[in-house]
Amino acid sequence: MYSEMIAAIFGGLALRSIISMNSYSGFNQAPMFGDYEAQRHWQEVTTNLDVKNWYTNGTHNDLQYWGLDYPPLTAYHSYLTGRVAKLLNYSYVELHTSRGIETKEHKSFMRLTVLAADILIYMPAIIAISVCMDLTFEKNLKHHLLVLLAIYPGQILIDNGHFQYNNISLGFLALAVAALLCNRNNIAALTFTLALNYKQMELYHALPFFAYLLSVCFSQNSLRLFVTKLLMIATTVLATFFILWYPWLSSIDATAQVLYRLFPLGRGVFEDKVANFWCSINVIYKLKKHIVNHEMALICIGTTLLAVLPTNVQLFCRRSKYTFILTLFNTAAAFFLFSFQVHEKSILLILLPSICLFAWWPNEMLWFLKMSVFSMTPLLKKDNLVVPTLALMIIFQLIFMCSYFETNQNIMIRKNWIGLIIKISEILMISILFASLIIEPPARYPDIWPLIISIISCAHIFMFLVWGYVQQFT
């Protein structure tokens, strides 16, 4: 029924706009502030400087202060919003003097830019992916998927609360997956390239796309078809890259500078506590003390490749759309666990494949989604978003308990032992969460709660990775 899809979309939008009323990252925390100021600073840099200087250090572009470190599409987006900001109020993006601006009007403006991205990109994209999932797999679950994508608290809290634009890269990714499911391979290649050019973290998803599309090419009947297919896709990707990177392609140095900004090896294997393998290992064996950064990066790349290759090779050899989604999930989880410089927000990248997998594994995936929000709670606590987080989680949980819309009754019935494990894990997470909110950490270990939360989440993700592998290879 269309009315319920409309309700889901606007309900998601309502929750986003309500969350926007809360505080954001780095509010009132001079001198560095947070992600909100980073985004605003990028507007300042892009609107005032020449394109060539966006990624290079200079008198007007201090890279130490939130230098641009996202790919060109983000920069263009900042330029666009920056121009609008300039129109509204020149002081929002004035060079140097606008640093740390925190007026109420500016907050409204910034929040509206995120909502605009939600309306223009994320919402259409999630409609597309839920409809395409239904067309491809005939599970009759588009309402469920749409509601899940529309009200999943993690993305709302990070984008509209903490302040980021994951909705754009996730929206492009969702469009790419949707196009791929509907056999529109060129559109998939195009939208995925856009996603990759918005956030380099989309590399987490690159291998499955590559494997799937290559496998499509190889499965053509004749050599001529193979070549045309391959050329079509390759041209799409390369042309998109060329257009987006055009300003920096004039010299190798300029390109290298952008790449260096995108992959900052100097920043260490992890910064804050994050629910991945290295951060957990670090408890026993201090990585940063024993291993040089470059060696560490190599180790990370090695383990990540080791973890993702089998699943992608399997996808290449036995291509199916279901395997593609499973591979997407496994690869993203492996990247999150093993790669270099992982942020806690990167868990949002596993969100989309896991919501797609909801069609087959509803209980497991709901559990995963709740766990992913749990893994981000230390960050949300820092941003003063604990109450909205809890309220959103309650809404999320209850809407799925009373999936009042047309529901395939038996999918919600929990199998005995899995149900028990899920229950135990949920109780554990809730009690840890409340303990971390109530009990002050001892002075010797100020980071004890984030660490515990990370380790628990890491164990969960690891288990999900193993589970995903088992599902794929049996």
């Binding site: 009315s3 319920e4 606007f10 706009s17 409204s108 509206l112 809404i395 209850l398």
Partner: protein
């Protein structure tokens, strides 16, 4: 199918908690001031104090309620209880007041539950789920109570409790609850005729012993009044002047979407059309301050005219209610009479606030579950009525929430009604055009007027458009629903008079005999 009562209670509370940091209107300061007055001043000063411009103008039960709240508030932030602390709004104060509204809403939920049970709607049916969704997640209450800030939720809870008692034939309880409600907020007087006629017919006259029943009813009904006004008996005139301020104008600063909004607009159009020179231009009717309105072409309306019209238009449905024989029919008709009485007062009343439309919308949510045709009309009024609340939420940060919450609710209501009756609500093409016409107002307000620079030239144009356009919808609903409730046919009605309605109603009664 499982019942989702508690889940919906949880969702509703969670949404309200999310709205804690939302913008609040001056009504927040009004209620904070009342907390301070009732806490710090002796009883006899409550209705005299004028430190703040927001003097206490609700009946005494509400004042007692504020006093009770203040007993908790002193542990939260004693500074909010100082009368001189005007516009005091610390984070704790805001959270305390907001949370008090959320907690008091539990009474509303209790009322919904009782009312649905009294109407024979079994839990865990689609009807029950739809009713809970429409009432718990009611976008009007979210706008007015949880963003704008007021305590309507629990007052509607008491109203629903009173209605449920009446439906269960516990007439004395019903009268008592309604009297209590009147002593919380006297605006519910608008509905009193429907209660009065029903109780007169089915309690005083129906159960033998007229004199004794009437006495009992009066005694029960008067107890809350004595309890409430008793302590203030020596300053009753002062209290009354606070409760019924007639110095205000015909319409509120923002015109509620009623007859007078259309009347004012017609006057403006006439001024332009006739090019009448207007010396008294100083008082523009939409200029934002509460003041008297001077009509230039059309005759000026006095309070007595509005009262006469209100009363006149309530009469037919009350007479019909009185004439009804069977108790079954009368239950449904009573609910409709409640809606029509409040809608009549809304349409013709003196200085009506846009929020008063909730008094039609909330009972209609219940009626929408009982009959398909009621559901259809409920939807029409909902589209216009909830939209007309938008000017309450004018802040930039509230624009997206107000549109998206409204759209969510309207889509959800459509889907639920479709589910309950297993078919589409079947709107006429013109009705669809009217619904879709609402899109043009935001387009004008946010895009066209900005691009053409009209927003500084006609700053009140969007408000005027909103109230006139939704006023048309409310008027259409009112006429259609009245005819429907009177059991008349829509097209043949055009030329009949009110008296003929009465006679035709009685004729029909005779036939059924």
């Amino acid at each position: 199918m499982r019942g989702y009562f508690w889940q919906l209670v949880g969702i509703s509370c969670a949404i309200k908690v999310l709205l804690l940091p939302a913008y609040y209107s001056t009504d927040f300061e009004v209620h904070r001031n009342w907390l301070a007055i009732t806490h710090s001043l002796p009883l006899n000063r409550w209705y005299l104090d004028a430190t703040s411009e927001w003097t206490l103008d609700y009946p005494p039960f509400f004042a007692y309620f504020e006093w009770l709240l203040s007993q908790v508030a002193k542990y939260v932030d004693p500074n909010m209880l100082i009368v001189q602390n005007l516009n005091y709004a610390s984070v704790r104060t805001v959270h305390f007041q907001r949370i008090s509204v959320i907690i008091m809403d539990l009474i509303y939920m209790l009322g919904v539950r009782c009312c649905m049970a009294a109407l024979g709607i079994v839990p865990s049916t689609q009807k029950h789920i739809a009713g809970c969704m429409l009432l718990f997640l009611n976008v009007g209450l979210i706008f007015v109570d949880h963003i704008h800030f007021q305590y309507n939720g629990f007052l509607f809870g008491i109203l629903l409790l009173s209605i449920s008692a009446l439906l269960r034939q516990r007439y004395l309880w019903s009268a008592f609850a309604f009297a209590v409600l009147l002593n919380f907020k006297h605006i519910f007087l608008y509905m009193a005729p429907a209660f009065g006629v029903y109780l007169l017919k089915f309690y005083c006259l129906a159960q033998g012993n007229f004199g004794q029943n009437t006495l009992r009813l009066l005694a029960v009904g008067l107890v809350p009044f004595v309890l409430s006004f008793g302590p203030f008996w020596h300053q009753l005139p002062q209290l009354m002047s606070r409760l019924f301020p007639f110095k205000r104008g015909l319409t509120h600063a923002y015109w509620a979407p009623n007859i007078w909004a259309l009347y004012n607009a017609a006057d403006k159009v006439a001024v332009v059309a006739l090019k009448r020179t207007t010396e008294s231009e100083a008082t523009s009717t939409t200029s934002g301050l509460v003041q008297e309105v001077q009509h230039i072409v059309l005759p000026t309306i006095t309070p007595s005219i509005t009262f006469a019209l209100t009363f006149l238009f309530m009469l037919p449905i009350l007479i019909k209610l009185y004439m009804t024989r069977s108790r079954e029919q009368a239950r449904l008709l009573f609910m409709r009479a409640v809606v029509l009485c409040s809608c009549s007062s809304f349409m013709f009343g003196w200085h009506v606030h846009e929020k008063a439309i909730l008094m039609c919308l909330i009972p209609l949510c219940l009626l929408a579950l009982l009959d398909r045709r009621d559901a259809r009309f409920a939807y029409i009024l909902a589209v216009a009525g909830y939209y007309s609340l938008f000017p309450l939420l004018f802040e930039v940060d509230l624009l997206v929430p107000r549109y998206s919450l409204y759209m969510t609710y309207m889509a959800m209501m459509y889907g639920q009604l479709e589910r309950v009756y297993k078919c589409k609500p079947n709107f006429h093409l013109l009705e669809w055009i009217y619904f879709l016409g609402f899109i043009t107002i935001p387009i004008y307000e946010h895009i066209v007027s900005r691009l053409l620079g009209l927003h500084s030239l006609f700053p009140f144009m969007p408000l005027l458009l909103t109230s006139v356009y939704s006023g048309l919808g409310v008027l259409y609903f009112y006429v259609r629903y009245y005819i429907y409730a009177m059991d008349l046919k829509w097209p043949s009605f055009g030329k009949r008079r009110v008296t003929q309605i009465k006679s035709s109603a009685t004729k029909r009664k005779r036939k059924t005999k």
